[in-house]
Structure formats: C-alpha cells, structure tokens
Symmetry: C2
Subunit: 219 residues, 2 copies
C-alpha cells in the first residue's frame, strides 16, 4: 500500500522556482490499477518519480507498506526499488552502450540472478513485448516504439509487486499499444499494483481508479 | 513537389542487415497534408529521415521540386534543408546545453537573421505552442510534452514550405495535442505542405492523404 500526504516538489533553477507539486494526498491499495491523467506540464512525471522512490519531495510524507520512505537509508531504498518496484520512464532511459537483451537483464544482475537464468528471463519478456528478433540491437538501432517496449520489458523482468509506467504507449500504434495494455491488465489480474500515467482514454477505461493532476494538485 | 521511386534503406550492423524500406514509390504535391501511419518498426521514421534530406537511401531516386537530391552537393542540401524544410523528430533532438529560446532560434541563426529578430520570432512561435513562460529552461528542466512542443516550435520558426513531423503529439494530452494539430491545420490552410507520421486517428482525419507503411512497403 502506498500512502502520501502533503507532497510538494519545487524545482529551483537559480532565481526561478517551479512549484511542480503543490500538496498531493493519495492512497493506493495493493492490487489497484491507477490511471494518472492531466495536461502536459501538470506534474505527473514528477509525482511518479517520487512514488517510484527515484526522487525526494521538497516536503510531505511517503509511507510504503507502512515504512516511512523519507527516513530510509539510501541502500535500503535501492534494495526496495529493485525488488518491489518496476519503473517505465517516459524517456525510456535505456543504456546506449548495452544491447537490448543486456538492458533488460540489468535489474536481474542487481538481484544476483545467474547469467543463464537472466538471459532466459530477459528473452522471455522481450518476446512477450514482440521484440524477440531484436536482442542484439543497441537502443539507437531501434524504432521509437521498439525502444519504448524494451523499457517496458526491463521494468517487468524482475516481476515487481508495483509497476509504475509513465506514458508506456505514447510511441506505439494501436495494435502494439493494446498488446502492451493487455500485458499490464494480465499483471493486474495476477495481483500486481499498476500506476500508469496516460493521455490515452483507452487506458483509463482499463484502470480501477483514475486520478487527475492539474497544475500540481489533484483536480 | 516530392517524388520518390524505388526507395530502399538497409541498416547494416556487422553480420545482420535490417531491410527497413523495401521499395517505396510516393508523390506528394505542394500543399498536401499527408498522414503516414503503420505499425511500430514498419519504417515510418526511416522514410521521414530520407524525405527530410537527413539520411540517404541505399537505392532509389528522390526528386524535390524537380531536382535530384542524391546528386546534390552537401552544402546545397544543407541550404535546402534549412530554407525549405522543417523537421520535428520523434526523439525531439533538442540541444541540451541551450535553453528553450536558443534551441528555437537555431534555424534562424543558420539563415542569418539578426539577433533581435531571431529572439522575437522564437518567442512568438513558443507562445503559439503554449511555452511562453519556459524560455530560460534547459530541455532537461521541462516535461516530456513541453520538450515535444519546443521541437515543434523549432521546426516552424523559419516558416518552411514543407514540414515533416514524426509523431508530434505522442507525449501530449488531448487538449495540447489538438492545439498542436490546429497549428498544423492552419499552416496547411496557408499553403504549407505537411507530412506527418502519426498513430492517432484524430490526426489522420485532418490529413488530405493517408499512406500506410507495413514492413518497409506501402501497404
Ligand atoms: N540504426 C538502425 N540500425 C539497425 N536497425 C534499425 C536502425 N534504425 C531503425 N532500425 C530498424 O528498422 C526498422 C524501421 O525503423 P523505424 O524507426 O523507421 O520504424 P518506425 O515505423 O518509425 O517505428 P515506430 O512507430 O516504433 O517509431 C525497425 O525494425 C528498426 O529495428
Ligand atoms: N528539472 C526541472 N527543473 C525545472 N522545472 C522542471 C523540471 N522538471 C520539470 N519541471 C517543470 O515542472 C512541471 C511539471 O513537470 P512534469 O514533467 O512532472 O509534467 P508532466 O505532467 O509529466 O507533463 P507531460 O505530460 O508533458 O510529460 C513542468 O511545468 C516543467 O516545466
Ligand atoms: Mg511527463
Ligand atoms: Mg518512428
């Protein structure tokens, strides 16, 4: 279960400050499928990075399964992130010098899985997202939608309890997009918690809960 | 007018070759609004880069306003690209060390416009795309959809005759997305030629012509 209260995030750039989040309260129960929507620039990615333990709020509290995230040591936070959380970035964030298969194996390396098992599991999720024939390509040798699908495979490879996906279908055609949504719906049916930012109403209809972010607040 | 015939593009990676385009014939008349659609990985961006004179085909002919592009000197090609063509990349391709306004001024620097006029024109197109209050931000200090809109502003700043846009609304919510489509529709109404890759059927309805790419061929 995720509980956040009074979450604020301010970006400071020299003399300018940008109040990206201005006081967010949200509770997400285990096994929910939450769709986060809202205009461009409203604070969705900022909120997702804080929920995914990738960034810290300027103020406010975050409890994950009853433990206070802001009070945790970095090493414990990294361990939780790698075992409990899968994160699909809006900008994919693939490592350019590793090929597709190696990029997807990364989370399994951190959790100490053997090379043979890592390779087999990475190939399995990559064929689930339709990229079984692109294992040796570098990210720059792929189409936009193919890079997005590699980022999705990497987030799912460790079978995390909670999956955060920031606009996972923006670069995909409707067939590839609905294939991906079916993967998320199946994971949700198996009991995984899904938190997805989307601009796509087709996604929102599959979610169990919808949250609207407008100008840094829940609107 | 754009005329391509027998266009093929093969990517060679060591022993593997990927036939991204396998023989494309296409004519685009001046003032058309062409929507290019097709599955992820089908060759749309590869085709757009060749049409936008950013990449060369492995074989085939490309005539732009009656002149053979493949026979041109690099300097002439660069001059045509900067004066006649605006290109919105699927990956935005903003320069990370320049702020938003400077990124949009770039095409005007190449065409020798004075600093004061460049700044005024850049601010004008940026406010048209809704980013008048983000001029000093660096690309990394923007949301995904804001970066996309900076890339669109940069492509339009030089008032090019032909505008290529590769999935210009993938990261935008429906309101921002339709604002952008309205900008393109207005440019089309003024006589500009628009060639746009999209996965969005709302875009395709605004186009005068639709082209479907499947597996490197017009399908
Ligand atoms: N530099 C490259 N080296 C090798 N293969 C490449 C390269 N760039 C693209 N490809 C391959 O060529 C094919 C076409 O890629 P392209 O980027 O044109 O597709 P696309 O239709 O734009 O897809 P999307 O809708 O996902 O953006 C893909 O299968 C891709 O893997
Ligand atoms: N590193 C940063 N420094 C300064 N401002 C930032 C930074 N990152 C984001 N912002 C600003 O904070 C606001 C929220 O950004 P965020 O990326 O969370 O929006 P978003 O809802 O994800 O938008 P989109 O749908 O376009 O991806 C935006 O107005 C943006 O300009
Ligand atoms: Mg975002
Ligand atoms: Mg593409």
């Amino acid at each position: 279960i995720i509980e956040i209260s009074g979450i604020e995030k301010e970006y400071r750039m020299g003399k300018i400050t940008v109040p990206a989040l201005r006081g967010i309260d949200l509770t997400i129960m285990q096994g929910e499928f939450v769709a986060i929507m809202g205009p461009s620039g409203s604070g969705k990615s900022t909120l997702m990075h804080i929920l995914g333990c990738l960034d810290t709020p300027t103020s406010g509290d975050y409890f994950l399964d009853g433990e206070k995230i802001s009070a945790m040591k970095k090493s414990k936070l990294a361990a939780i992130r790698n075992s409990k959380i899968g994160f699909v970035f809006q900008t994919f964030n693939l490592l350019p010098h590793l090929n597709v298969q190696k990029n997807v194996e990364l989370p399994l390396m951190y959790s100490g899985v053997s090379p043979r098992k890592r390779a087999a599991r990475a190939r399995e999720v990559l064929s689930d997202v339709g990229l079984g024939d692109r294992l040796r390509h570098k990210p720059s040798e792929l189409s936009g939608g193919q890079r997005q699908r590699v980022a999705i495979a990497r987030a799912l490879v460790n079978n995390p309890a909670i999956i955060f996906a920031d606009e996972p279908t923006g670069n995909l055609d409707s067939v590839s997009g609905s294939d991906i949504l079916t993967i998320f719906s199946n994971l949700h049916a198996k009991g995984h918690t899904i938190v997805m930012v989307t601009h796509d109403s087709a996604v929102a209809t599959r979610a169990s809960t919808r949250v609207n972010i407008v100008d840094g607040l829940i609107g």
